[in-house]
């Protein structure tokens, strides 16, 4: 039967796949090269982390929360400790709020540059990928100087932070900001001015404004569809109340938002510049004073045992709104229950719409375009309706995606 006559094939992508940073399964229903329907099945990496929290006290759960994600680990612990602070009415010293904000923005910079580089790699622009990875090292060095680690920094705590900004770290941050102001434009220009890049990302994986609302998309995915939403602006937390932060939306730059992969790329790249400005504002206004409400863990635990109630927090993580909800019960040391809603949990609902009527060669790019927080894979299995199967290796899948780029280059 010819293409377009109704016979479709199912292509499972995942649970382990080169286009995914972590395991998830997508069954693509295809007619020839065209994707006609998609079914997503998460769960391959569900670790029962919320259940585990029931046997731990809130300070121990900080370290569980930090291991939800290797990229936005600090966002998760800040959302968690803010929920605890809400439930237990624990204040945070001003200096700690500013240090939290600086760390959140440093994390956003490395997350966005990582995503932008990997997006270029996916469609074969290896020189831009390598440039992105080179640029990202600077912020990773600053995070290591500030916290001792490149990921999972271990510096957040309930009622403050555990590490101050030393004069040496302040100097490293200042040098990093100057470095990115000088160097990041090379990456931005190399990507946005390339006609082939635009051809690969424009009108691909479109999510309309209406669908972004209906499916409750968050973060850069929502903003790329034209939604003026950013929790740092609409409900300021930590130091954002004192800072000038506006949501970055494509219509402010191009006149309209197309909600495609290019707009998602553009929003993230512009947010790197925005994060640099926020860090500068924080460093200029960094208040003096303590960095913890209660530095002694035993006293802090006793204080937490007096709390009785539910607290919630929603913060703007690199991928979008990260919500944590916690219940503490008076006289009980352990957390009663804890719920985490990471941004991908919300954005994955929009995948089927983005996939519809797109080409298989664009599938890895579309999957990555919401910056899914789910690890890498090695191969995919292609199954036809008679049940026979072939294995497409990582190299083959990348070849399919890159072949499309070459076809466009030779037009």
């Amino acid at each position: 039967m010819a293409i377009g006559e109704g016979k479709t094939y199912t292509i499972p992508i995942g649970p382990v796949h080169v286009g995914l940073k972590e395991p998830i399964t997508a069954w693509l229903q295809v007619d020839g090269e065209r994707i006609v329907d998609v079914r997503i099945r998460p769960g391959a990496i569900h670790r029962g982390i919320e259940y585990m929290a029931r046997e731990r006290n809130p300070i121990q759960v900080i370290y569980l929360a930090e291991r939800i994600c290797g990229i936005c680990s600090f966002a998760h612990i800040i959302s968690f400790v803010r929920a605890v602070e809400d439930a237990a009415s624990i204040p945070v010293p001003p200096r700690a709020k500013y240090i939290r904000t600086i760390l959140l923005e440093l994390e956003r910079i490395h997350s966005h540059i990582l995503w932008a580089g990997v997006a270029c790699y996916t469609f074969g622009y290896d020189s831009a990928f390598n440039l992105g990875m080179l640029l990202r090292e600077k912020v990773m060095d600053v995070l290591e100087a500030m916290t001792g680690n490149r990921v999972n920094y271990g510096v957040g705590t309930i009622g403050g932070v555990r590490r101050d900004i030393t004069p040496q770290v302040a100097g490293a941050i200042e040098e990093m900001v100057e470095y990115y102001k000088r160097e990041f434009s090379y990456f931005y220009n190399a990507v946005t001015e390339d006609p082939i890049v635009k051809a690969r990302m424009r009108n691909v994986g479109v999510l309309s404004e209406k669908d972004a609302v209906r499916y409750c998309a968050v973060g850069p995915t929502a903003r790329a569809s034209g939604l003026r939403v950013d929790l740092r602006w609409s409900s300021p937390y930590e130091a954002y109340e004192d800072l000038n932060v506006e949501p970055i939306v494509p219509q402010d730059y191009f006149g309209n938002a197309q909600g495609d992969v290019f707009d998602r790329f553009f929003v993230r790249v512009m947010e790197v510049y925005q994060s640099l400005e926020i860090i500068e504002q924080c460093m200029d206004g960094l208040p003096e004073g303590p960095i913890m409400h209660e530095p002694k863990p035993a006293k802090l635990l006793n204080l937490l045992k007096t709390a009785d109630g539910v607290g919630q927090s929603s913060i703007e993580a690199p991928r979008g709104d990260d919500t944590h909800v916690i219940k503490l019960t008076q006289a009980q040391e352990n957390v009663t229950w804890w719920k985490v809603r990471a941004p991908t949990y919300a954005n994955a609902m929009s995948w089927p719409i983005m996939f519809k009527d797109q080409e298989i060669a664009d599938a890895p790019l579309i999957i990555n375009s919401i910056d899914p927080c789910i690890s890498c894979m090695e191969r995919m299995l292609i199954v036809n309706e008679k049940g026979s199967s072939t294995v497409a290796t990582k190299e083959e899948l990348i070849r399919i995606c890159r072949d499309k780029t070459r076809r466009l280059m030779h037009r």
């Binding site: 099945r41 998460p42 769960g43 569900h46 029962g48 919320e50 259940y51 809400d86 204040p91 001003p94 709020k97 500013y98 404004e209 209406k210 669908d211 609302v213 209906r214 499916y215 409750c216 998309a217 939604l227 003026r228 939403v229 929790l231 602006w233 609409s234 409900s235 300021p236 937390y237 930590e238 130091a239 954002y240 109340e241 004192d242 206004g285 208040p287 539910v310 919630q312 929603s314 709104d321 919500t323 909800v325 219940k327 009663t336 229950w337 719920k339 809603r341 949990y345 919300a346 994955a348 609902m349």
Partner: protein, 181 residues
């Protein structure tokens, strides 16, 4: 019936409270407004509303929220509390209406264990699907009108009579838990 756009004209928490009390007369069990502070000077930066309502009034309450703005859905949290399962629906109103204008709205509903069903919000907010399926598999609540009630996070071969977040006999037994240390 529903507008799939965000309202740029905000209302204060007090205005929202008055509006909901008028719409739902005696059906709101409680309504608390929590002031959230931020910045070096601890300024009020936004508000959260914590509402408890009867299960029978839940859909009317959600429809009332729709009259104000599209209630952006975050997640459902929940717990097994003896005779009932408590579900907390977390929404945002006026998320696009200006600096500091977002109002977080949490709606708590008790679902008695002798009738563990809730009306699904899927037809109004399709983005709620994963959360309703998660509450179905983790706490055993069925959602009427949700087209796909299959497992979402638990393994394909999971015994669907076992609900990991329940604290009664339908919860986890030691055979389900692998202690690593």
């Amino acid at each position: 019936m529903f507008k799939y756009s965000l309202n740029p004209l905000p209302k204060t928490p007090e205005e929202i409270k008055t509006f909901l009390e008028e719409k739902l007369t005696n059906n709101l069990e409680s309504l608390e407004i929590r002031e959230m502070v931020a910045g070096a000077e601890e300024k009020t930066s936004f508000y959260d509303m914590w509402i408890t309502c009867d299960k029978g009034a839940f859909i009317d309450l959600v429809d009332s929220l729709f009259m104000l703005d599209f209630p952006i859905f975050h997640v459902i949290s929940g717990d097994d509390v003896g005779d009932f399962v408590l579900l907390n629906y977390h929404f945002s109103l006026f998320a696009s209406a200006g600096r500091g204008k977002r109002v977080g709205v949490v709606v708590s509903v008790k679902v008695q264990k002798n009738d563990l069903t809730m009306q699904s919000l899927y037809d109004k907010i399709p983005g709620i699907e994963y959360s309703e399926r998660e509450m179905h598999e983790m706490l055993g609540v069925s959602f009427e009108g949700l087209p796909d009630q299959s497992l979402v996070f638990l393994p394909e071969n999971w015994d669907e009579k076992v609900h990991p977040w329940r604290r009664d006999d339908s919860g986890l037994s030691p055979k389900h838990i692998r202690e690593l240390s």
